[in-house]
């Protein structure tokens, strides 16, 4: 095959390397980023490292799976870590407001800190609008690193493209601090007052008038008090942002871009890869979650569907009660129709949006409405097949249709993955086989960690 083959990302090598001190997981929402961060934490701890996982807004069940219920901004030790290698896992959820408050308290004298914390403008800023989370996550990372209590920090990032906004923080803060706007803001006596006019050029005085007009007098005063109180801190803010930026570029840091094998997620992944490269951030590779495999890959979707078709046709004449073939929908209890219709795709609009999908796919358009009364089941064992053969044929057809669906998914995933690899052949990839359900406990996280380390069969074949 002439297709580019991505090198395999070996997460165990990454986690085992004592030089690796920070792992940052980024990617678009819904790709399993937080789960990946947690699973990496569990695996690293069980391989002997002292790990802290910083999660941002985790799903409740996931947080509980690590035994953290409270959003208290304090790393807690996770019980039940095995391995016997002396490893430890600590986990915490980011409390944005508290992190911001602590930052203020650490960087301003007590009186000033009180003024800032009481300022209404600050209070709403810190409560976490878009953007604050990204900055505070990085601030927290800097703090954890500075404490030096853990030899590995695994960080989750906020679920948006702006997750990488923190990379811009030093620049933005810089342009803001060096700009005139802050000086204008911080000249309360001059704002709107004629006395101060001569000290300002015409452009700036127009500005102060404008700003005051737009914001309104009282908000203007709040912003001014805030800006004045924050003045001493902004320097600290910029220094910290710059320090974190350098920390992220340092050799001990590894970025993992997390994605699912879907077009949008991989497009976002490509964006992250390019963005990290532009900022010279060390990318370790791509974690591709929820990759599907099949134990019967030799059987193509087309062939499976054709075989299913043959089986349905073959079992048809055996059922004299159903002379009109599989399109006949008069008998809602006919399992043949059930399979045929289910395979054609459900039409939720037909049965009402809230209808059970099985009832929907299995018993389409029940004229007597009796489908609601029965336990929905695509193949009802109570309905005796006309012969053992035709029952087996229908079941086999169902298995084949499922397989065809699976092979279509595989094909689509492979194509999107190939597209990414064509664009970024240098990025190592770790594929994680899909789990049928969600993760609820440490065992689930451990299973993900294993899947991360041991690639699915298909990945082996591709890589080998």
């Amino acid at each position: 095959m002439s297709m580019d083959v991505a090198p395999r990302l070996d997460t165990d090598v990454l986690l085992d390397d004592p030089q690796t001190r920070i792992v940052v997981c980024c990617g678009s929402g819904g790709v399993g980023k937080t789960t990946t961060a947690a699973a990496l934490g569990v695996r690293a701890a069980e391989r002997g490292r002292k790990v802290v996982v910083l999660t941002i807004d985790p799903a409740r069940r996931l947080a509980q799976s690590m035994g953290i219920d409270a959003l208290d901004n304090i790393p807690r030790r996770v019980e039940g870590i095995g391995g016997g290698n002396g490893g430890e896992l600590h986990a915490m959820m980011l409390d944005m407001k508290r992190t911001f408050d602590e930052f203020v308290e650490a960087h301003a004298d007590p009186e000033r800190a009180r003024a800032i914390l009481a300022n209404p403008f600050y209070q709403s800023l810190s409560a976490g609008f878009a953007g604050t989370q990204e900055y505070m996550a990085m601030e927290k990372l800097g703090q954890l690193r500075a404490r030096d209590e853990w030899d590995l920090i695994v960080v989750d990032t906020p679920p948006s493209r702006s997750a990488l906004d923190f990379l811009d923080a030093p620049k933005r803060l810089g342009s803001f601090l060096d700009g005139k706007f802050i000086k204008v803001l911080m000249a309360p006596a001059k704002v709107g007052g004629k006395a101060g006019m001569k000290f300002l050029n015409v452009g700036v005085s127009m500005m102060t008038g404008t700003v005051s007009k737009v914001l309104g007098g009282q908000l203007m005063r709040d912003v001014q008090t805030f800006a004045a109180a924050m003045d001493t801190m902004f320097g600290g803010f910029r220094t910290r942002a710059e320090a974190t930026y350098r920390l992220l570029q340092a050799p001990g840091t590894a970025f993992l871009v997390v994605a699912a094998p879907e077009r949008d997620a991989l497009r976002e992944a490509a964006y992250f890869v390019e963005r990290l490269a532009a900022d010279q951030m060390p990318l370790a590779g791509l974690v591709l979650n929820r990759v599907h495999g099949s134990g019967a890959e030799q059987l193509s979707a087309e062939r499976a569907l054709a075989a299913a078709e043959i089986l349905i046709l073959a079992s048809d004449p055996a059922d004299p009660a159903d002379p009109d073939g599989p399109d006949d929908q008069d008998d809602p209890a006919d399992p043949e129709d059930a399979l045929a219709n289910a395979a054609e795709g459900s039409d939720p609009a037909k049965n009402g949006a809230a209808a059970e999908n099985l009832a929907d796919g299995g018993f389409v358009d029940p004229p007597s409405g009796n489908a609601q009364a029965r336990n929905p089941s695509a193949v009802d064992p109570d309905v005796s097949p006309t012969s053992a053969d035709s029952s087996a044929e229908r079941l086999a057809a169902g298995l084949l249709r499922l397989h065809a669906e699976r092979m279509q998914v595989l094909g689509r995933e492979q194509r999107t993955h190939d597209r990414f690899t064509a664009l970024h052949p240098e990025v190592p990839v770790a594929q994680v086989a899909a789990l049928p359900g969600d993760v609820h406990d440490l065992a689930g996280l451990r299973a993900i960690g294993e899947r991360l380390a041991v690639p699915p069969e298909r990945a082996n074949r591709v890589a080998g």
């Binding site: 819904g30 800023l125 043959i310 939720p348 999908n357 193949v379 087996a392 298995l399 669906e405």
Partner: protein, 325 residues
Amino acid sequence: MSRLHVVSGKGGTGKTTVAAALALALAADGRRTLLVEVEGRQGIAQLFETGPLPYEERKIATAPGGGEVHALAIDPEFALLDYLHMFYKLGSAGRALKKLGAIDFATTIAPGLRDVLLTGKACEAVRRKGKDGRFVYDSVVMDAPPTGRITRFLNVNHEVAGLARTGPIHNQAQAVMRVLKSPQTAVHMVTLLEEMPVQETADGIAELRADGLPTGGVIINMVRPAILDHEAVEVVANGQRTAVAKALSRAGLGGARRGGMAERLVDPLLEQAREHAERVALERAQRAELTGLGVPLHELELLTDGIDLAGLYRLAADLRKQWPE
């Protein structure tokens, strides 16, 4: 009837696709909708297979029956200048503000203001009337931030009205809140039949209700057909194994004897069927959970080949059939 449709949902559930399909559906029969993007991802342009959208309302699709979908990707920076111009007639002063770094301040350092601008712009489009005194858009559909942020996002003006207790910003914030809390607005959630998105949907709806924001429906996206359930799989596994192998063989898939291709297919096919059945059972539980939320449910099927323009129109037609008039 709602005219502002705010579409939220957990990341990865297909929020942008559903918002686009809804905009198309609501534009049917000669109506006009505006599809608004607030997160700067240009997802709408990609869906409609056009180049990146500028900060400008432009027609991007024609709906069945002659309707029109217009789209706008809101850029916070332009929105602020626009806003300053609209309310204060600031042309050159706006540019000067930009030079001073004030725009940077407003849109990044004070990120709350970004949300103010985004919601403000959407509400302005909802209220806008043409020369004939009729609304310019019959409905506005917003591809909104994800579930975890939606309540705060929509409530930002409430917060701002508290900060600026008088003056033009206060009045503007109040006006926006009035639209958002009125029956003119409906906040819809997109979910999959999976545990985490369903949980987030339930949490999101509870939050919206607690803050008095109007909830709309839940759109279950990417619904897959249920082909076999646990019982069927167990029937095969216990006793029908040979019969199934023979059936596969009759369908031309090789020998049914031990080691034959048909026989070797049974186990992997069964394994897939088990996973499928497990998912079907999980989905049933999730569906029950959603039914308990007491909001209208809508369903969109999974398009196995991914979403292209034709697929988008198909979803729109599906949604149209299910949408209350």
